[in-house]
């Protein structure tokens, strides 16, 4: 062959190789991957139509999405469903449940154990099943019960800008010792009173901050961006942490003050008796696809893409095959 022809052949082979590799690498379009398991479709049971359920949730994105997922899943199973989302913090949500305003809502085992049942953060079991059993036993003392946990777990975390962390040499929370008195901390209003929040930082880590400013949960990243907060309380499943991983960083919780909790659906025992077996079955079914990666993706669709929680819940249920 002539040099020209050889070169052309080489380029053609390289091209074909790259093409083959490219096709093999991803089955979907640009950069997207898939996560979570496929699900079996939910079957509608006409008997359930006699029961009306009101699904509640707490007041931040992940909770709103979860509430909608449960509500739409139960609807697909044939129940009459109403939603009363965005109730407030865990105390308010529990009150609503106890007052019968909602049939149930999603709670984190860690929050239940530390906020409701006064467990110390270090006593919260790291095994999800153990934490679930412990929470369930405590709830049952009050006529409530809980369904099995989600695959994913979430926890509070002390977060900051990566630049700040590098500047101050922060990798773990205890690195804040000796420095925290010059740093401002921002968190939700109820953070002031929670052991897995400000109280834990003050008692468990012995840290004093220059100031603590309560702001709406929705602003937890804004205050870091604006340079007003040196530190902000974030959630480990926040979309922003993976979408902008080079901007934000969370400090490692070395003294285990911020236990992670899987989500368990807390509900009234009477409602369970009334609603039949499909109640628990549907809840555990629709949540089985919620790995940490999937939950973060759903959070991202609301917090970054600014879609509505209801729409995102429907997308999740459809993409996972629970409804069509």
């Amino acid at each position: 062959m002539s040099t020209k022809a050889r070169t052309r052949a080489l380029i053609a082979m390289l091209f074909a190789l790259v093409l083959a590799l490219g096709l093999a690498a991803c089955g979907d379009d640009g950069g997207d991957t898939t996560g979570g398991g496929g699900g079996k479709a939910i079957v509608s049971n006409p008997d359930n139509g006699k029961v009306t359920l009101t699904i509640g949730s707490k007041n931040f994105t992940e909770q709103l999405v979860l509430g909608e997922i449960y509500a739409k899943g139960l609807e697909a199973a044939g129940y009459k469903v109403k939603t009363d989302l965005n109730l407030g913090s865990e105390v308010i949500a529990l009150k609503a449940l106890q007052a019968g305003e909602v049939s149930g809502y999603p709670e984190y085992t860690s929050t239940a154990l530390t906020s409701f049942f006064k467990a110390a953060p270090e006593d919260v079991p790291s095994d999800p099943q153990e934490a679930y059993q412990q929470s369930k036993a405590e709830f049952e003392k009050e006529g409530l019960t809980a369904f099995p946990p989600t695959p994913f777990a979430s926890a509070n975390a002390v977060g900051t800008l990566r630049t700040t962390a590098e500047e101050l040499g922060l990798e773990k929370v205890s690195d804040l010792e000796g420095q925290s008195q010059d740093l401002t901390l921002y968190g939700s209003p109820e953070c002031r009173q929670r052991v897995d929040c400000l109280v834990g930082l003050e008692d468990g880590y012995g840290l004093q901050f220059k100031s603590f400013t309560p702001v709406d949960i929705g602003l937890r990243y804004e205050v870091l961006d604006k340079g007003q907060a040196d530190l902000s309380i974030l959630f480990t499943t926040d979309a922003q942490l993976s979408a902008e991983a080079d901007k934000y960083v969370i400090l490692e919780d070395d003294k285990k003050v911020f236990p992670a909790g899987n989500v368990i659906f807390v509900t009234d025992q009477k409602v369970v008796d009334e609603a039949g077996p499909d109640y628990e079955k549907t809840i555990t079914q629709v949540q089985s696809g919620l790995t940490e990666q999937v939950m973060q993706e759903l959070d991202a669709r609301v917090d970054i893409d600014r879609q509505e929680p209801a729409a995102v819940a429907t997308q999740y249920l459809k993409e996972s095959g629970y409804i069509d």
């Binding site: 979907d28 950069g31 997207d32 898939t34 979570g36 929705g218 993706e297 759903l298």
Partner: protein, 236 residues
């Protein structure tokens, strides 16, 4: 990614943080156009809140004005009581009412209605007071009863002032109705509260509220022109 063929899976999008919406810019036109229908229901809820509250407020204020028209001594105490409703911040009013009327639209309407009373009442009284003496005397001279005088002479002449009061009340109520979300009454404020850091969303919701106020103002000016073709519009 997965090791066994699955029925269906959740698509994990790769986000680069480059898009307008990912950067949470002040206004993202693309997103606004795609998602505009999200704001339609809240806007309609707000319209209902405003129309009902102002209509109720007008009805009550008008009844009070009729009452006080021949009993001047009633005016100061009525101004005082309606003034209390006007001075109490709406948010406080909502939460004072909630133990009594619960969360929801009704509470929002009661508070918003109460707020409008003083301005409407005051303007009706001022309008009636501004009717020239000679006109009233002429009317009486023509044999009109006091009642006929009121309805056929005084009120029509007082119309510009009354509508000026309605305009102020309506514009203020539109702005206040954005707070109805705190009382569970819906409206554009709900969109703002549930996405408190979303700049484009705040701009859209706030912008719609401002436009709504402007639209109501224009409509009321039009109504005034229709009802009083002999007068120029009185600046509020």
């Amino acid at each position: 990614m997965t090791d066994a063929p699955q029925l269906a899976q959740v698509v994990i999008h790769e986000r680069t943080g480059e898009s307008c919406i990912a950067q949470n810019k002040v206004f993202c036109p693309g997103w606004a156009i795609d998602n505009f229908d999200r704001y339609v229901d809240p806007a309609l809820q707000q319209v209902v809140l405003v129309v009902v509250s102002v209509a109720l407020g007008f009805a009550i204020a008008f009844a009070l004005a009729l009452l006080a028209h021949r009993r001047r001594w009633l005016v100061p105490p009525l101004i005082g009581v309606t003034g209390v409703f006007y001075t109490i911040p709406s948010l406080a009013f909502f939460f004072l009412l909630i133990p009594i009327s619960g969360r929801g639209r009704d509470t929002a309407i009661i508070a918003l209605t109460a707020y409008t009373l003083q301005i409407i009442f005051r303007n009706i009284m001022a309008g009636l007071a501004n009717v020239p003496r000679e006109v009233k005397d002429a009317g009486r001279g023509m044999g009109l009863t006091e009642r006929q005088l009121l309805w056929r002479v005084e009120l029509p002449l007082a119309l510009p002032e009354i509508i000026a009061g309605l305009r102020v009340a309506t514009v203020s109520t539109v702005a206040l109705a954005t707070l109805a979300a705190f009382a569970g009454g819906g409206g554009l404020g709900e969109e703002i509260l549930s996405n408190i850091d979303f700049k484009t969303g705040i701009v859209i919701a706030g912008g719609l509220a401002i436009l709504m106020a402007f639209a109501f103002d224009v409509i009321l000016i039009g109504i005034q022109r229709l009802l009083t073709p002999w007068r120029r519009a009185v600046p509020a």
